[in-house]
């Protein structure tokens, strides 16, 4: 067997499969965005000029920023214990990361509904304790969406942070400690800066994932805090405007592409340093 034919037999099937099922259909979606209902760039103009669409874009960015800060900060603390804690701490943290990680997004969103809804556990407790007379609206608004998405994305932030914390040079910490720096000072001025690449990586992963989120906002936002993915769904299935839905998808894809290109540059710079 000659070299090129082997190449095609091994590498070809998956690439041909993805070309047929993904790349070509995506071109079809791009065609929708410039032909439905009329040909031209009208749908892009409509998307970027429609106050409703812009509100949704703005809300998506706001929610994603809040989720990124929350998830990365929470993940940093648990990862610290997972990597540097005692054996018992490690085991507990590992289970608390892995169990939610394997549970489906629907079950997790439903769990938050059970906790946060008007007849849910938190409102029930607060009312039974006499703290509240009226239930607090914790869900079907932006708060519920941010809580649910942060919960979903914490495990995804843990993995890049853990690899950054595991690979740093232990001797630098010892040197800092040996020269008399307090533990707090070693942590803030040596350890945290040395994990900067991990923090950036985790933040980008969380932000990119959050941008395309659909299920959690749809369930916990209750149709009131629509994010961009749900807007696409609504434009395709509920008030059909396929052209607009396709145009928003292309804009979203381009945005994520730019972010990923930035991530790749970061990684490459990190590698060459």
């Amino acid at each position: 067997m000659s070299h090129p034919s082997r190449f095609l037999l091994l590498i070809g099937p998956l690439l041909l499969f993805l070309a047929a099922t993904y790349l070509v259909p995506f071109l079809g979606v791009m065609r929708w965005s410039v032909t439905l209902p009329a040909s031209g760039l009208g749908q892009y103009k409509a998307a970027l000029g429609d106050p409703l669409v812009l509100t949704v874009f703005w809300r998506t960015l706001r929610i994603c920023a809040a989720v990124t800060v929350g998830a990365v900060a929470a993940a940093y603390v648990v990862t610290l214990l997972w990597v540097r804690g005692g054996p018992m701490q490690r085991l507990v943290v590992e289970l608390c990361i892995l169990i939610p990680f394997w549970i489906s997004v629907l079950t997790r969103a439903f769990g938050w509904l059970a906790l946060l809804s008007n007849k849910g556990l938190i409102n029930g407790w607060l009312q039974a304790l006499g703290v509240l007379s009226e239930p607090l609206t914790l869900v079907r608004n932006e708060f519920g969406v941010v809580v649910g998405m942060t919960h979903f994305l914490i495990p995804f932030a843990v993995f890049p942070l853990a690899s950054a914390m595991r690979s740093l040079d232990e001797r630098v910490l010892m040197a800092a400690r040996g020269m008399g720096a307090s533990r707090a000072r070693v942590f803030w001025q040596v350890f945290v800066p040395m994990t900067r690449a991990g923090i950036l990586g985790a933040a980008l992963v969380v932000f990119v994932f959050a941008l395309g989120f659909f299920v959690t906002p749809a369930i916990l936002g209750g149709g009131r805090s629509v994010m961009v993915a749900e807007l696409i769904y609504l434009r395709i299935f509920q008030s059909p405007d396929w052209g607009l839905g396709a145009a928003i998808s292309v804009i979203l894809m381009a945005g994520v592409g730019l972010l990923l290109a930035a991530l790749m540059r970061q990684v490459r710079q990190g590698a060459s340093r």
Binding site: Y22, Q89, G111, L113, S117, G120, V208, V215, A229
Partner: protein, 272 residues
Amino acid sequence: MNVLRPGPLAAILAALVAVFLMMPLVAVIPVSFTPTRYLSVPDAEWSLRHYRALIENPAWAQGAWLSIRIGVVASVLATGLALLFSLGIWMLQPRFAGLLIGIALLPMVAPPVVSALTLYFFLISLSKVNTFVAYDTWAGVALAHVVMIAPFAVVLISVALAQVDRRIDLAARSMGAGIWTRVVRVILPNIRFGILTALFLTFVLSWEEIGVTLFITSVDAVTLPRLMWMGLRDNIDPAIAAISVVLIALVVAVVLTKTAVERSRARRQEKA
């Protein structure tokens, strides 16, 4: 020596995050025993009616069975395609390997909703020429799931291959082994564990896939997650709590078993 052991403040903060992570999973347990037909916490009377509903309403078993079938077909196909691809990249080290891997990983990094719309376009186009692999059919869902899960298999198998010592393969080659022998007798036994992990992960991903499935099914191909979605959207059905408890129990059992097995294996290795 661990010069930076986390202090009590870090431990308290981490405990708070751990509680936050586990809280919604624990919360569904009391709700699943409510005697009412709406989402509520039982006060006096606890009831098993929603667990009974899971057994008595055939839709749940049908949904679970459909999800299992789709998951098995999709994970085997995805892992097979990913295995060939990763082997090709590893053995031949083509010039544009980075670009080729990038293409293979595209469905994993693109926003799921964009993939969903793309696969919706693909399947309604296929519906015009056949009724088997089409919109709202099990084969259509399985095919779409292959697209979404294959990248994860590529990552896992490539990681496994990266740990194989190339010199073993070179030795086999220099002693006259053909490509078939090298793959089957030398490389595959070394990445066995990576392939099994890929099969398992892709099955789980297909089993719980909802973002794409929502776009490409309506009334006929109702997978388990699709059924749960329908029960979550309008009036929240407490049967969702019961099925959630069942699924959570399954995951907890698997994760605990895996952790226990890994620990005992590590201990045995320490002794040896």
